[in-house]
Symmetry: C6
Subunit: 253 residues, 6 copies
Amino acid sequence: MERVRTGIPGFDELLGGGFLPQSANLIEGAPGTGKSTLGMQFIHHGIAACGEPGLIHTFEALPEQYYRDALSYGWDFRRMEREGKLRVVMTSPEVSKADLEKVGGRIERMIREIGAQRILVDSLSHFERLAGNAVELRSLAYGFVNSLKREGMTVVLTRESSTLLGEDDNNNDMLAFLVDSYTLLRYVEIDSAVQKALLVLKMRGSNHDKGIRQFEITGRGIEVHAPFEGRDGILSGSPRRMIDSFRQAFVRH
Amino acid sequence: MERVRTGIPGFDELLGGGFLPQSANLIEGAPGTGKSTLGMQFIHHGIAACGEPGLIHTFEALPEQYYRDALSYGWDFRRMEREGKLRVVMTSPEVSKADLEKVGGRIERMIREIGAQRILVDSLSHFERLAGNAVELRSLAYGFVNSLKREGMTVVLTRESSTLLGEDDNNNDMLAFLVDSYTLLRYVEIDSAVQKALLVLKMRGSNHDKGIRQFEITGRGIEVHAPFEGRDGILSGSPRRMIDSFRQAFVRH
Amino acid sequence: MERVRTGIPGFDELLGGGFLPQSANLIEGAPGTGKSTLGMQFIHHGIAACGEPGLIHTFEALPEQYYRDALSYGWDFRRMEREGKLRVVMTSPEVSKADLEKVGGRIERMIREIGAQRILVDSLSHFERLAGNAVELRSLAYGFVNSLKREGMTVVLTRESSTLLGEDDNNNDMLAFLVDSYTLLRYVEIDSAVQKALLVLKMRGSNHDKGIRQFEITGRGIEVHAPFEGRDGILSGSPRRMIDSFRQAFVRH
Amino acid sequence: MERVRTGIPGFDELLGGGFLPQSANLIEGAPGTGKSTLGMQFIHHGIAACGEPGLIHTFEALPEQYYRDALSYGWDFRRMEREGKLRVVMTSPEVSKADLEKVGGRIERMIREIGAQRILVDSLSHFERLAGNAVELRSLAYGFVNSLKREGMTVVLTRESSTLLGEDDNNNDMLAFLVDSYTLLRYVEIDSAVQKALLVLKMRGSNHDKGIRQFEITGRGIEVHAPFEGRDGILSGSPRRMIDSFRQAFVRH
Amino acid sequence: MERVRTGIPGFDELLGGGFLPQSANLIEGAPGTGKSTLGMQFIHHGIAACGEPGLIHTFEALPEQYYRDALSYGWDFRRMEREGKLRVVMTSPEVSKADLEKVGGRIERMIREIGAQRILVDSLSHFERLAGNAVELRSLAYGFVNSLKREGMTVVLTRESSTLLGEDDNNNDMLAFLVDSYTLLRYVEIDSAVQKALLVLKMRGSNHDKGIRQFEITGRGIEVHAPFEGRDGILSGSPRRMIDSFRQAFVRH
Amino acid sequence: MERVRTGIPGFDELLGGGFLPQSANLIEGAPGTGKSTLGMQFIHHGIAACGEPGLIHTFEALPEQYYRDALSYGWDFRRMEREGKLRVVMTSPEVSKADLEKVGGRIERMIREIGAQRILVDSLSHFERLAGNAVELRSLAYGFVNSLKREGMTVVLTRESSTLLGEDDNNNDMLAFLVDSYTLLRYVEIDSAVQKALLVLKMRGSNHDKGIRQFEITGRGIEVHAPFEGRDGILSGSPRRMIDSFRQAFVRH
């Protein structure tokens, strides 16, 4: 099947080529792990390398923030916007929801105006204030995501995790069940420093790579590297390397 | 006793031949572990290999999603539906419940129309929005499941777990007490990658295999492999292999 | 003191001969651990080996379920019921409670009709829906249990645990304080498989065996085996065997 | 200072001779750890060995239960009651509280009638239903305990712990702050069996023994033995003995 | 800077000489760790060694309790009270609060009457019943403490911890942020016994000793000893000594 | 890009030169970790070394507290205030919020009066009492921070953590998502003493140093030292050094 490439070195390979067309893709991580950067890189690659215009839909950060952040990776979002290939929209979750529900709303209009094929929703966590509980939130998010997919979009959704290391116990909203792929960005403490790990946990209808990869945010955006080696419990954020050192000490020595 | 085979390589063996006829079988797992795939494979095998028509009952994903996903495993659900051997129904939990309670409801009619013997309910978690608390949910689910069993169906019910690794502390709904078998799908971090484990925890009236097996989702669906070896704490999702390496280092060396 | 034998190989020995006469005995376990089987075996042994008629009191599963399950262990409950030695009653907790409170209620009448000396209440957890909180539940259960004891019955009460491995943090209802014995059924992960452990934690007025025993559900019911060996932390469900392997590696080698 | 001996072998030594006169002494433990037995032994020793009449104040178990349990340790409570040296009273927490607040209430009258110097309150946990929250419970318990101390009584109070192994996270009622001594009874898993540990955590104005001791309930009541050896983490209920085995393996071998 | 000495051997050294003048100093600990003893010793030392009269302000225990407890350490509080150097006041938190808010209240009058320079507030935890939530409690405590500091007092505040081992998860009242020093008293299980540890976690404007010290309550009050050695995780209450034994076993042997 | 130097030895290097101009920078830590000291040092360095006037905005501690604390590090805040280079303001969160929302409010006026370029908000945690829930708090804090950035300020915000060791489970307010940098101050138990660790977890648009550094509060303020060595799990507050000692014992020995 044809894939929607993100252009992120190493990430497309993990995904088996890229996202599925017209799919919803959830990226979850703690503050500073690079969720927005990953999303912007996906949008930038669409415009710059695939001729696919894109939309960035945000609920808190101003468009200027995205222009500035993108520029630090060498992505000229202002120019792209001038050229009619990008729209950065900031609105409230209430408005976006209402907007997508009616025919010819503002987002629909923008999508059609620039012929957008990709969209970054940054972040889905803001929908929480629309919903009274987890069941309602799921239903809301489901409707929103589906209306975007119906427009033919490939969607990247970010979700905020309030836990710095390991699994977020507070995120029991079940959003991961309604998306087509689910990627975790995690902090991992190794050798007295904090490194970053990426894992594609779920990928619908596809036998993807399940390795836990190290990644970095460089001056050109995200780069996904080799798997971690000789460690247990990476997903806990605080891995153990006993075995490795045991081996070194006893077996190979 | 005669068994209802799932056709999943390795899984029927664990179950002691298959599910019990007219039984309710719970499959629980985190997003991406393969609950729906397991259920579709059960339905497909019934139609393709056993001559037993089937129903897929969903509350969120559209029928198209199932057609597409099934096709990626080589299962032509559209054709089966045309041939009157399959029905994929999407409705709200409210409607299904009401429907099964009255004589000659829509689901009952469909079951009889195609002579269905198998049903996948994907997922039981959606009933949560009908119930005010765990006690009520249990009673609701009990009524729903029993009315299906009374129709002569063998039922596969999926349940969503919001925890990625280890046991889900939020699932205290006691649903596992009212089913005839209970299977866990779990993520396990091994060697810097995420693998999948399957365990038949409960099987009514039967001395089944209690091994924790590795499984994969391949291009032909789920395949259950050998047990994990030389690891403690697999069900925690983050197993230890100290002993193993100790043995290697000290005893056999 | 004379004891009420359960007929379960190994269990009566742990109990110091059996339950105390006219005692309340709590059996707690996760789904599939064998609580109902243990209770049915206690009832069956009373009728078949001791000439003591019995009652099975259930709130959810239909009598047919018990007949079928019992038969898989070779216990013909239908025949026993026909011979007036057994009654299987399904009712709501509300009705049972009200019933026992008045003179000559249905349960009292049944007990006297067949001269029942043993009763299985499967499960006490259903009383939760009668009670607004833990204090009320305790008071309700206390009244119910005492009225059964006053009728001269030896009572087996099952309680459901929603936690699969280790201690159930949700069970703070204090029911264990008002019974005469308290037995835990637990899952234990050993060697990549799930085994079952049984422990008599409490036994009023008696110096019972406090070993944590492995047990199996065979074609003839429950059989309690030898204690686990060379493992720490069995009650956590995920034991460690480091010491053992250390010993093997260093000391005996 | 003169001490009020409990007569429990090993326990008086831990306490530095016994409880302080006119003190409140809290005994906390999970079901089956022996709280009531310890309390009854304290009452029995007072009557049989010290000439100090006693009162047993209970809120749930019937007096008959205490007579029977005591008898299994060879303590003839019925005879003591006939001889005017013991009273076993069952009442509601509401009544006891009200009773002690007015002059010449029933408990006060009983205390004076038999000249009681010791009282067992079994258990303080029943006061929870009188109090809306932890602050109120503390105030209630404080008033109740002080009115008993003002009558010149040495008080043993039991408290139920709902956690089987390790610390009870639910007990944040702060009752331990208002008593003069605080003793923990704990289950400890060692060598595939459950043993019992006793620890005097707090003892007002006294340099008591802080060892964690093994104890047993024998045919003559509680006997406190030697401390556990070569284990870390006993209070967790699941101790580790790594060091010990390391030492054995490496150093002494 | 001049310091207010506590007279507790080893503790003044940790503090860098003593508390800061006119400072608020929080002492936190589980029942029986010695919070009140530490506070009384601070008051006694002020009167007996520094000529600084003191006030003990309590909300639950009667003054008699303090006289008796102090006497067990050889501190004659009754005499000091007679000599006009000490006041022991028991009142409700409501009254104290109101009292300090108006000019010439009872506490202010007492302070001036005896020229008090030190005060023990035992314990701040009782203010919890005045406050609806953590934010309000903080504001209340802040006002109370500041009005005492404005009177020129050096304040010792005790706070109760409901957790026996390790950190108290329930204490999220943020009181530690508004004091000038913060000292933890902790239980630590070592060699099958419970020892006591003291740590000065926070000390405003000062480079104090951050060692975790063992301490004892002797017949003369608290004595702070050397740091614990060769153990990790002391603050958890259940330390590990693996490294130490590893070292002994491998390196030095 | 030009950076706003904090003047804290070692910290500017971690940040890649300093904070970003007109950025919001969150400093989180438990009581006594040095949040306020870090903030004051940032303000002092701006005035003394960069000619950038500054504002200290507090909600609880009186200005006098800051003068005194600063003086203990040799920073003469009173003089700076007299010279019109510093303002220390204490107000309620309500007032500050309202103040910044209108044109020409008090804070705006002060900023312009002294030409302030840096501000310390100590602490953001006080905004919690303005907000009914986490979503509202985020929105409030977002508005407040943005209005300060719009005035051209570089902002340091402190946040209180109620957990002494490891991650604070109570802080799920998501504030870390709306700032440009996020620095953690943590306690770490090493060798029976409590040390301090600093980590820059997030730094917008920048490849900063992710090492976990030891730091001290000296007589001249904060000094950031070398990373911790040979330890796993520093962020848990209770690190393990097994590997290290294993290496020493086995490999190098």
